[in-house]
């Protein structure tokens, strides 16, 4: 059985970039593995569909290395709640052209780690974070970094949709307003419309901008929260189990949204649902008991993981 094309299946076309219109070579029908990002091929190699990997790396990687430094880099992060250590020496990179998924059983520290990335753990009095986290090379924990600005650059979407008890317009406009991103109402209106469009909520909401945000359905509320996060023009979006409170259709819409947002923002998503991680991400990190056990391409993690613990977890042999 010769290997001409890597087993990693070829992606189906996505709408995000024009260059992504071409499907690559023979595609497998494996439904559980995430499509490889089409991003780099336009930049890296001859645009017509590749039938062989440019440099056949052992695992058949044909995405190519990311051409820029990672957006955020975490090194040896440990988190202590009082005496108890919740995270141990986690090191990871978040790139801005990929979705990075964090999976693992309950209580393994993935949400804790996510919250380190925008310093939300600062709000917990007993939490202590050690290690370095950098965004674009700047250390986020240094005293020169304004945590409020950081949280505008690194936005967050939470598990349970939590729109402000204000109108839809106000929900989205609040962030830009407090950061002074708009001069005048016309500009603010523009920002609101742009954010709602990007979040896929404009058509449903444009006639109801003054209605309360909490009157929307669960899926719409979550999209509103995403629009709210986008409105302040972040560089990174962190999502903490964004679909766990939603029904399958709303979940699918959010996943599609994540796919569309991918090129514009670096996205890190924590999820309990392995199929979701497989569908949505290009890189996956598996956390277990506060350690990051394995980090690699999503397709590899889900077809041939290196660590036994990873294999046990994703095949359902855990516990």
């Amino acid at each position: 059985m010769k290997q001409t094309t890597p087993v990693t299946p070829n992606p189906s076309p996505s709408a995000a970039t024009a260059a992504e219109a071409k499907a690559k070579g023979p595609s497998t029908t494996d439904p559980t593995v995430a499509p490889e990002p089409e991003r780099n091929r336009a930049e890296v190699i001859a645009p017509q569909g590749q039938t062989h990997a440019p440099t056949p790396v052992a695992s058949g990687e044909h995405e190519g290395a990311s051409h820029h430094a990672p957006k955020m880099r975490a090194r040896d992060i440990s988190v202590f709640y009082g005496e108890k250590q919740a995270l141990k020496d986690v090191s990871i990179e978040i790139h801005d052209d990929r979705v990075t998924a964090f999976i693992g059983p309950s209580g393994c520290g993935k949400s804790t780690f996510l919250r380190c990335l925008n310093r939300m753990n600062d709000t917990i009095p007993s939490a202590r974070v050690t290690g370095d986290i950098e965004i674009d090379g700047e250390n986020i924990n240094s005293s020169k970094m304004d945590v409020v600005q950081l949280r505008a650059r690194v936005g967050m979407v939470f598990q349970k949709p939590n729109p402000f008890p204000k109108s839809i317009y106000e929900n989205v406009a609040y962030g830009p307003r407090i950061h002074g991103l708009a001069q005048g109402k016309a500009e603010l209106d523009q920002i609101v419309e742009k954010s709602l469009r990007r979040a896929g909520l404009w058509e449903e909401a444009k006639d109801r901008l003054q209605e309360s945000g909490t009157a929307l359905s669960g899926g719409q509320q979550q999209r509103l929260c995403i629009a709210r996060a986008i409105a302040v023009d972040p560089e990174v979006i962190l999502m903490d189990e964004p679909c766990s409170a939603l029904d399958p259709i709303a979940t699918a819409k959010i996943e599609e949204l994540i796919h569309e947002l991918r090129g514009r923002y670096a996205i890190a998503i924590v999820t309990h649902n392995m199929q979701q991680a497989a569908r949505v991400s290009q890189r996956t990190a598996f956390f277990h008991l506060g350690e990051m056990v394995e980090y690699g391409k999503t397709s590899t993690i889900f077809t041939n993981p290196v660590e036994q613990r990873t294999q046990d977890y994703i095949t359902g042999r855990y516990g």
Partner: protein, 413 residues
């Protein structure tokens, strides 16, 4: 897989259990209903008794009196009544003697007792209004004296009652009750002075207690570090709320009057004392309201890049406002009804004119009620009840305002 004997749901023993449960529920409902009914009965009893005698107090007896002005001994110049010295002129005219003479002439010996200060005042007002009366003989409806008023209700002297029977009298609403101040004569007494005093005092109380209370609650809940000192503060505030109110009066006396030398019996001092009393209530209610704002809202605001201050003032406070207002209502109701501390700081004096500002001597409704209930004159009894009703109405209005505000903010959720 599990083999056990199937539960006999229709067994006799099961049915007995079910019947016992139903009986217990019925008993509980009965006791609940009984408790509610009892409370409502007490409330109704209070309102009805107060209302009954209060209504009486808001009306007065008027007697028709024939006065022959040209023939009387009145020394009054019609021209003087038009000028600015009209009040002086009335005062010097000797209205009381003339009244007595006219009454005796019409109703017999001792009929002067039928008329009093109210009658004089009314007569004076009528004359200023229409000086032409001085040239004629007219029959005027004049308010009766307090003795006559009491007699009209069947409570007074037999002699007066008998005299009254010979007159032409009626009962009418007493407007002076609401727009005059304390007096020694119960027929001219009114609660306007006390009302204004209460209003000014409550204003001072709220102006001090509300901002300080709310901001303290915000600080303690959101910004203060959690250590032994803040625990101590929390315990102290909780205890303050339970301190007997008269101690605040002592504090007011010692600090505000003796050390700080503020004007005695002024709404300013009363307000300061009551503010000390009300603040802990607001702080406690405020803290609970702030605690009950779900952390998801805070997280959401922080996630968008709001600073701590912005989170508190843009998001937490608006949501906590209904709870804070509830606490304010409770505090306000308590402050409205406080008598003891205000007595201690001297708001028990006899104030005949309503206060002009917060630094002039004043009295408040509860103190006024207390003072009147001490009076010997029978006429004050019904006035006391009427004042109680006014106090209740005032409290209802203020609570209504606060509840309206609270409901308005509650809708936003």
């Amino acid at each position: 897989m599990n083999s056990r004997a199937p539960t006999r749901w229709t067994d006799g023993s099961m049915e007995r259990l079910v019947a016992k449960r139903y009986a217990a529920e019925r008993r509980f409902k009965f006791f609940g209903l009984a408790a509610v009914t009892l409370s409502v009965a007490f409330l109704a009893f209070l309102l009805i008794t107060m209302g009954w005698s209060g209504v009486d107090g808001s009306a007065r007896t008027e007697i028709k009196l024939d006065i022959d002005f040209p023939r009387s001994d009145l020394m009054l110049d019609p021209a003087a009544l038009k000028g600015p010295e009209s009040a002086e002129a009335i005062g010097a005219a000797g209205l009381d003697t003339m009244l007595e003479q006219a009454a005796v002439a019409q109703f017999g010996e001792g009929a002067g007792d039928l008329f009093g200060g109210a009658s004089m005042r009314m007569l004076g007002e009528r004359l200023i209004e229409d000086p032409e009366l001085l040239t004629r003989r007219v029959a005027l409806w004049l308010p009766a004296s307090s003795k006559a008023d009491v007699a009209a209700k069947g409570d007074g002297d037999a002699a007066i009652e008998e005299m009254l029977a010979r007159t032409d009298h009626r009962r009418r609403l007493n407007p002076t009750f609401l727009n005059s101040s304390d007096a020694t004569d119960s027929s001219v007494v009114g609660i306007w002075g006390a009302l204004k005093g209460t209003f000014l005092t409550i204003l001072v109380t709220m102006a001090l207690a509300f901002p300080i209370g709310v901001l303290s609650a915000v600080y303690l809940e959101e910004f203060a570090p959690r250590n032994r000192w803040t625990d101590l503060i929390e315990v102290s505030i909780n205890n303050l709320a339970a301190v007997p109110s008269i101690i605040f009066g002592l504090l007011g006396l010692a600090v505000f009057l003796n050390i700080m030398d503020l004007p005695r019996s002024a709404p300013l001092v009363g307000g300061l004392t009551l503010a000390l009393m009300t603040m802990p209530v607001i702080v406690i209610a405020g803290r609970n309201a702030i605690k009950s704002v779900p952390p998801s809202i805070r997280d959401a605001a922080l996630g968008v890049g709001a600073s701590k201050m912005q989170v508190v003032f843009h998001h937490v406070l608006p949501l906590a406002l209904p709870g804070i207002l509830t606490g304010t209502i409770i505090g306000m109701a308590r402050a409205l009804g406080e008598t003891a501390p205000l007595l201690m700081i001297g708001m028990r004096a006899f104030i005949a004119a309503p206060p002009g500002s917060i630094t002039e001597p004043a009295t408040v409704l509860p103190v006024q009620i207390f003072l009147w209930s001490d009076e010997v004159d029978r006429g004050f009894v019904e006035k006391t009840s009427a004042a109680i009703i006014v106090l209740l109405i005032f409290m209802l209005l203020m609570n209504g305002l606060a509840i309206y505000l609270r409901n308005r903010f509650e809708q936003r959720w």
